[in-house]
């Protein structure tokens, strides 16, 4: 008889909304977000803990959601790119990425914006070195990064007092 793998009940808050779900233990957090909650702004890039396209904020910390089991996120508070915009108004980070041409194809952009969110929440006035270190785990194949650095510095300036 084949082994049966019992599902696990979990609860989590995503972008301020509570969810109760029953998941297979091997389900990855990124799949939970994309498949179960239809939040497809979180992208799967390399699926090997390298590229950072799947970066989300879990209890205030940026993580690669392709390398977290959904069951490990039980009881947690998650922010995805869909949680940045408020009342139809872009978040200062989103606005800055647009204004500075900090994206081209856009595939890496949600992950980069969430890495930026963690950076600015802990360090509102980052140096260029701080910025480079904060996004070292996010790969962009289009921009060459310079416009992303500019976008993050602009976001830091625009977030002051926000």
């Amino acid at each position: 008889m084949p082994d049966t793998f019992e599902k696990v009940a979990i609860q989590l808050r995503v972008n301020g909304k509570s969810h109760s779900l029953t998941v297979e233990p091997r389900m990855l957090l990124v799949e939970l977000l994309r498949e179960a909650l239809d939040l497809t702004g979180t992208h799967v890039g390399c699926d090997t803990t390298y590229c950072g396209a799947c970066t989300v904020i879990l209890n205030g910390a940026a993580v690669k959601s392709c390398t977290v089991f959904a069951v490990q996120a039980d009881g947690s508070e998650i922010v995805t790119v869909e949680g940045l915009e408020k009342d139809g108004k872009l978040h200062p980070i989103q606005q800055a990425f647009g204004d500075s041409f900090g994206l081209q194809c856009g595939y890496c952009t949600p992950g980069l914006m969430l890495s930026t969110l963690q950076l600015l929440s802990k360090n509102p006035t980052p140096s260029e070195k701080d910025v480079r270190k904060a996004i070292a785990g996010n790969t962009c194949r289009c921009t060459g990064y310079q416009s992303i650095f500019k976008a993050i510095q602009l976001a830091a300036q625009n977030s002051k007092g926000a």
């Binding site: 082994d3 793998f5 019992e6 696990v8 297979e24 233990p25 091997r26 389900m27 990855l28 699926d47 090997t48 803990t49 390298y50 590229c51 950072g52 970066t55 879990l58 910390a61 940026a62 993580v63 690669k64 390398t67 977290v68 089991f69 069951v71 490990q72 039980d74 890495s115 963690q118 270190k133 904060a134 070292a136 785990g137 996010n138």
Partner: protein, 297 residues
């Protein structure tokens, strides 16, 4: 990519986790931060039938100073060590924590998980081999303390029994006049280093009273470069002694050629890292504050 299906268990204490693992048998594994295990499971190199998740056990992540040593709960994340003023009392620990992979991985990966995984390219074992480091290990039968130098026996292999885990990592604070440095060379942030070197020097009136040197990523485990240490111990550290230590490190290294470089390239690289780490450790031993990070290509 999905791992093979597995049964998921949560423990409420580390002792309970060890007992669970022993009852679940050989195909059960502990899950800590998961930053090594989950990728291995997705590639199906590791296929446990049961995972016992340690991350919901309370009181397992802490950094405390107690009687001349720093105590790290095994589930303390690299990022917590990176940002801890207490951990910075031993600057080489900050060198290591701040350079492991990237922000996202440091937010999940744990010091205990990294040591228990014993990846030949892991950072912690190399650094902690140069320190007076002990591991408090816990199994269903009780606790034991293992010095780190006796802990890792081969690639991905430690003295831990199947149902035993690391509970605490204890690192003695070096005395005044003793300082270390850790340098790792990486092609980019998220990857393992190509080679790494950790150096701890104790200076006495300018002369080298003691030296401990460990090399990473250039063998099946992190290794002590004892001939490099001998090249420095009891001598004034000048160009000649450093050149001898570099040559000894080249010989001590036994790297595998791979996509990160040829064996000869890695030998030259690790010798260069030893040189730079010696120079930084000397400045620190003289009381200078020196910031060190991993070096990117």
């Amino acid at each position: 990519m999905y791992p093979r299906p597995f049964h998921y268990h949560r423990a409420s204490s580390l002792r309970e986790a060890a007992t669970m693992l022993s009852q679940l048998g050989e195909n059960a594994r502990f899950l800590a931060g998961g930053q090594s295990l989950i990728p291995l499971m997705k590639l199906r190199f590791s296929n446990p039938s049961h995972l016992v998740d340690l991350s919901f056990v309370p009181g397992t992540a802490y950094i405390e100073e107690e009687s001349g040593a720093l105590h790290f709960g095994a589930l303390t994340r690299h990022g917590e060590i990176e940002n801890s003023a207490t951990a910075a009392m031993i600057p080489v620990l900050h060198d290591c924590a701040a350079g492991i992979a990237d922000v996202q991985v440091r937010n999940r990966g744990t010091i205990g998980g990294s040591l228990a995984e014993a990846d030949p390219s892991g950072d912690w074992a190399t650094v902690l081999l140069t320190q007076d480091t002990e591991l408090r290990c816990l199994g269903p039968k009780g606790e034991r303390t293992v010095p780190l130098r006796d802990f890792i026996t081969d690639a991905y292999t430690t003295v831990l029994d199947h149902d035993e885990l690391i509970r605490e990592v204890i690192v003695k604070i070096p005395p005044k006049g003793s300082a270390g440095a850790y340098l790792a060379f990486k092609r980019s942030a998220p990857v393992y280093p190509t080679a790494s070197a950790a150096v701890q020097l104790t200076l006495d009136d300018g002369a080298c009273k003691d030296a401990v040197i460990a090399l990473g990523c250039v063998g099946l485990t992190a290794v002590r470069a004892k001939d490099s240490e001998d090249a420095l111990r009891g001598r004034e550290i000048g160009d000649k002694a450093i050149a001898a230590a570099m040559e000894a490190a080249r010989t001590a290294a036994d790297p595998q050629p791979d996509m990160r470089g040829s064996a000869e390239y890695k030998r030259m690289l690790v010798a260069a890292l030893v040189k730079r780490a010696i120079q930084i450790a000397m400045r620190r031993a003289r009381g200078e504050q020196v910031e060190v990070g991993h070096i990117y290509a």
